[in-house]
């Protein structure tokens, strides 16, 4: 690694730590209903939203009502998004006259964007009209992110409240996340991106005649307004097919750096918000520390792998699938960030990373994207592992486990286990079915273990609601569109519903003050135990599958074997 690589790594970490308290403090105020400086400017918009939507903002919902609102809202959004795509030919803002999207692709894309996955079977610049991109996809980029934050806030309330039947109001949380957090940041972020060169126009595609006389039709569109929320909301769905590798989506090293920071910004701030709202500030930093440690370790493994000499080409830092302006370091760094969070935007082609770098990307997702993670999703995913750690620690000393003054009992643990296992099952069963199904195998681009990795990566990305891909796989087929939609569905709802059940159950409990036997959760020991539990669960579940893909590919490759 170059000295500049270390510097960029350090600057990134320092900036991430620096923005966490102010953003976390701000979000804690927003979601507890305190007035912030933003209320003067945008308070009217919040109230207008409730009025127009017929929402009673004072309703305090039980976990069941919260979950019902969440479900109804998501199913309706999927339906509307399908409708827009399947009728885009007759809708305005379609300068390239793209036809309607075929139903199974529209269904896959709708589930994908509503669940904050943003898996893309389609290629944006040859499929989607500006209308679909804006009115369909951009809107869901915001709302799926806002819903994720809402669930994290509801869970936080469940832990903070005592003997309460309710965990907040889904509409209010979603509205506030959108209007006070996501939208204002995105307005500034969009302008910054345009300044760097991201396009923002409604003009039709431009035909250039190159210096050597070849015609080149260059796509345009309102990209910047979508790219900003795609990164900040850890959505990751590219305006163009090549996503954040495309020079119109990520034109400079600076746009790249800020995009990387924005992926982690809200996920990191949520740990501070959590500490703030539950009064356990130090515990919030312990969670942040565990996340950061995992991030540094995994990223270092990935970098080490990419910088090791590849015996097939006798070179290190292979530039296949990487952009010159980012180089090796920023490509690998981005790949680790985007898979740690549930972003899934890519600034390099993950399929062309070294086998172990690709494996790190998969492991990041398989662990549930809890390393800062998706906005909200990373936090409540991490909370599953925290509850599990508290439970295991309790078993070790033989007492009823307590967490922040709440007793953790069988009911909560059942929900936690369900939420941890559901996406794992979706990944492994989906991969298993596909590995023996001719309809799936005909989509592969690479042979040997890398072909298996393409399938494993696809289900991991879908079930973890990530959306990045080993993009050699032709996933825009009836088989994959439907199978991966199911995986994305499980990856969202089979976690959110149990999480809300846990929140509801914890909210009802009495506060039991800590005693000498309580296992402290604001210590380094707890952070280490937490990391241990995460790694053991991840390793036990996925090591066999990884062995068949990237691990065997790596072992063969270092002997010079190609496929």
């Amino acid at each position: 690694m170059h000295i500049n690589d270390y510097l960029q790594f350090i600057i990134f970490v320092v900036l991430l730590i620096a923005i966490t308290p102010p953003l976390g403090r701000f979000m804690a105020k927003v979601f507890t209903g305190e007035k912030t400086f933003m209320h003067k400017a945008l308070g009217w918009l919040e109230n207008l939203t409730y009025k127009v939507s017929g929402i009673n903002p004072t309703e305090d919902m039980s976990w069941k009502s919260y979950a019902a609102a969440f479900m109804v809202f998501h199913l309706l959004a999927i339906f509307i998004l399908m409708l827009i795509q399947m009728n885009q030919a007759w809708l305005p803002l379609n300068p390239q006259n793209f036809p309607n999207v075929v139903w199974h692709s529209a269904f896959n894309t709708a589930v994908s964007f509503v669940t904050n996955t943003n898996w893309q079977g389609y290629s944006g610049e040859v499929t989607m009209s500006n209308f679909t991109q804006m009115v369909g996809l951009t809107v869901q980029n915001f709302l799926s992110a806002a819903c994720g934050i809402a669930i994290a806030v509801a869970l936080t309330r469940g832990i903070a409240r005592r003997q309460s039947k309710a965990i907040g109001n889904f509409w209010v949380d979603t509205t506030r996340a959108t209007i006070y957090v996501l939208l204002p940041i995105c307005v500034l972020f969009t302008l910054f991106l345009v300044g760097q060169g991201v396009v923002q126009t409604f003009a039709p595609y431009v035909e250039a005649v190159t210096l050597e006389g070849v015609k080149q039709l260059i796509p345009l569109g309102p990209a910047a307004s979508q790219v900003s929320i795609k990164m900040l909301g850890t959505n990751g769905g590219g305006f163009f097919n090549a996503n954040a590798t495309h020079p119109f989506e990520n034109p400079t090293a600076l746009s790249n750096f800020i995009q990387m920071l924005s992926i982690f910004a809200i996920g990191a701030a949520l740990t501070y918000m959590y500490g703030s709202m539950t009064g356990a500030r130090k515990h919030g930093w312990v969670i942040f520390g565990a996340m950061l440690s995992l991030f540094v370790v995994f990223t270092s493994i990935s970098l080490a792998s990419e910088y090791t000499v590849n015996p097939v080409f006798h070179q290190s830092g292979i530039m296949e699938g990487k952009e010159t302006r980012f180089g090796v370091f920023n490509s690998v760094f981005f790949s680790s960030i985007t898979t740690s969070a549930s972003c899934g935007a890519v600034n390099a082609m993950h399929s062309s990373l070294s086998p172990l770098s690709g494996a790190v990307a998969m492991v990041n997702m398989m662990l549930g994207e809890i390393i800062f993670g998706g906005v909200g999703a990373g936090f409540y995913g991490m909370m599953l592992f925290i509850l599990m750690t508290v439970f295991i620690a309790g078993l070790m000393v033989g007492r009823t486990p307590e967490y922040l003054g709440k007793k953790i009992e069988a009911k909560e643990m059942m929900m936690v286990i369900l939420a941890i296992l559901a996406p794992c099952a979706a990944i492994l069963i989906g991969t298993g079915i596909s590995a023996i199904s001719p309809a799936a195998l005909s989509s592969l681009a690479n042979k040997g273990p890398h072909g298996f990795s393409e399938i494993l990566y696809a289900y991991t990305s879908a079930a973890a609601n990530n959306g990045s891909a080993f993009a050699g796989l032709n996933a825009n087929t009836l088989f994959f569109n439907l199978m991966l939609a199911v995986a994305m569905f499980i990856g969202r709802f089979a976690i959110v519903i149990p999480i809300l059940a846990v929140a509801g159950s914890l909210a009802q409990k009495k506060y039991s003050p800590p005693s000498s036997g309580t296992f402290e959760t604001d210590t380094t020991l707890f952070a280490l135990l937490l990391i241990g539990v995460i790694l053991i669960v991840g390793a036990l579940t996925f090591l066999p599958a990884l062995s068949l893909g990237p691990i065997v590919e790596h072992l063969m490759m270092i002997k010079g074997q190609t496929f």
Binding site: V52, F73, L211, I218, T324
Partner: protein
Amino acid sequence: MKYLIPALRFNIFMTLLLGLIYPFMMTGVSQVVFPTQANGDFISRDGIIVGSKLIGQNFEKPEYFWPRPSAISYNPQPSGGSNLGQASDALKKAVDERRAKLKAAHPYTTEEPPQDLLFASASGLDPHISVEAAEYQLQRVALARNIDKAAVQKILQEVTASRQLGILGEKTVNVLVLNLALDKK
């Protein structure tokens, strides 16, 4: 089900706000503040659009600097990379062919061709090459244009962009900008 009507009204309101007002407003402001960037930074020569500063294009003639290999042959419909793994037969074959071709075109050097000229970019539209990749081609371009190598070197130095803010990213050479500067001379 009591949430169905609020969900619908909420969705419609948010669609108006986030799907129409927000992108239209951002487009309006961008077109005023950053008109060049917002519209794709196109370059015209003699009234003809010859390309975008940000979008790579193919060069094969000896008098031009060549860009990186592209899995989509620089046709941006759609963009993308090869997605071949690092232990792929197909990739090895492609790289061997590119190396042989580069060596044949650059007989005056025994240097190995730089990595970025052997491996395809991620977007297929990478507008840049590394400084090494440009220097590797310098002599060929100078000979084909029948000009002094130092003159080409000077233009290359002018076009080379350093790391952003001195730290971020890598040093780059924009191939289209470089070739345009050469043509002007």
